[in-house]
Symmetry: C2
Subunit: 222 residues, 2 copies
């Protein structure tokens, strides 16, 4: 498993869990609503080998700052040993108007599970210098874009990981990753990723060269 595998699994598990209480993707879309991942922070405890089984649990953790649906995740081996814990914040969006909806628009109270927590850390803005060196140019080609015409969350994680020199992976395991998704990247658009080390952390942001917006910010620690 690589870091992006955890993101793919979280996306699928969250979708599956929401569908299990009636809020599947098609039902939401018919009501003019979609959930989009806004921020995610994960602590990696171990990386499974390709054929290992991971047991994933996920649960809603209430509403934050009026607009964020919080959701936590835990990944364990079948024997209970931790693989990773994560916390995430999702926005409810009107995809036609491209605006953020209040959580009440969903029409159901999402349980807060009494504050049950997998990763008890806040999902803050990332302090990001503007002068990081150029690291990688990427394009949102066909392979990066999902059915909604958006770059898949896990693909951004691949891009973040691709800015990190191979030496770094050889000398130590990735321990933590936070990524804040700021502005969507549309099909065909190009991003310039800038990255560098600050205070022992690897900082990355992606500048959309076609829209001039910042697409995402991320911080990784080894």
């Amino acid at each position: 498993w690589k870091p992006a595998c955890f993101f793919q699994a979280m996306q699928q598990t969250a979708t599956h869990h929401a569908a299990s209480w009636g809020y599947d993707f098609d039902t939401l879309l018919a009501a003019g609503q979609v959930w989009v991942l806004s921020r995610l922070r994960i602590r990696f405890d171990d990386f499974p080998t390709p054929n290992e089984t991971a047991v994933i649990r996920t649960w809603p953790k209430g509403i934050s700052q009026r607009v964020f649906f919080l959701r936590d995740f835990e990944f364990r081996r079948p024997d209970g040993r931790s693989l990773a814990v994560a916390t995430s914040a999702w926005l409810l969006i009107d995809p036609a108007a491209r605006r953020i909806l209040r959580p009440q628009t969903l029409g159901v109270d999402v349980p807060d599970n009494g504050g049950l927590t997998a990763l008890a850390e806040p999902l803050e803005k990332i302090a990001m210098p503007d002068d990081l060196p150029e690291a990688l140019a990427v394009q949102a080609g066909y392979s990066a874009v999902d059915m909604m015409g958006h770059v898949n969350n896990a693909r951004y994680v691949e891009w973040v990981c691709d800015t990190i020199p191979f030496d770094r992976y050889r000398s130590g395991r990735l321990r933590r990753l936070q990524i804040n998704y700021l502005n969507e990247t549309r099909p065909g658009e190009r991003l310039l990723l800038r990255a560098g080390e600050h205070d022992g952390q690897w900082l990355v942001y992606g500048q959309n060269l076609d829209s001039s917006q910042r697409a995402f910010e991320a911080v990784a620690a080894f």
Copy 2:
């Protein structure tokens, strides 16, 4: 499913099948042998939706041109309708010496299954002009490289698909794809993909800018 999903599934299924008769990856590697995909040709009949189940069958189809292990694949829906059929050619390689081994080195006769065929088409060299326009620059970053330090077969397919304009996907479904893997791409190396239309087919090749070798050639038809 996108085209690369079929390639990921084929790789896993082939590995699983070889392991089922004792030739798992670790056993082969301990004997100084690995199988690498050399050529693959696939006809797509339909693309499953994200949660659909595909039943995959694969079988060896004998030896060709003294060095190629042939292997066919078929993808079906549970009700039997075809999703895709493919034929592939694999080389047995000594990873330390980086040279091709004769199939006899494997030490077992791989059954030829009486010529049972999923896609009855030869795996030929691809006629490729040298003057295709530049389409995409990519780098073999961390996300593209597997445990062996090679770019994953499916990632090349993503790159091929990323050279094709979005308009083409909107106006018609991808019907056929052949990819010939020519020279390995090592971690960090950059490829320049050149692509264009010739006689109704989409041709792509990847030039390794660091080694000056051609990494792969591919042909797609809609």
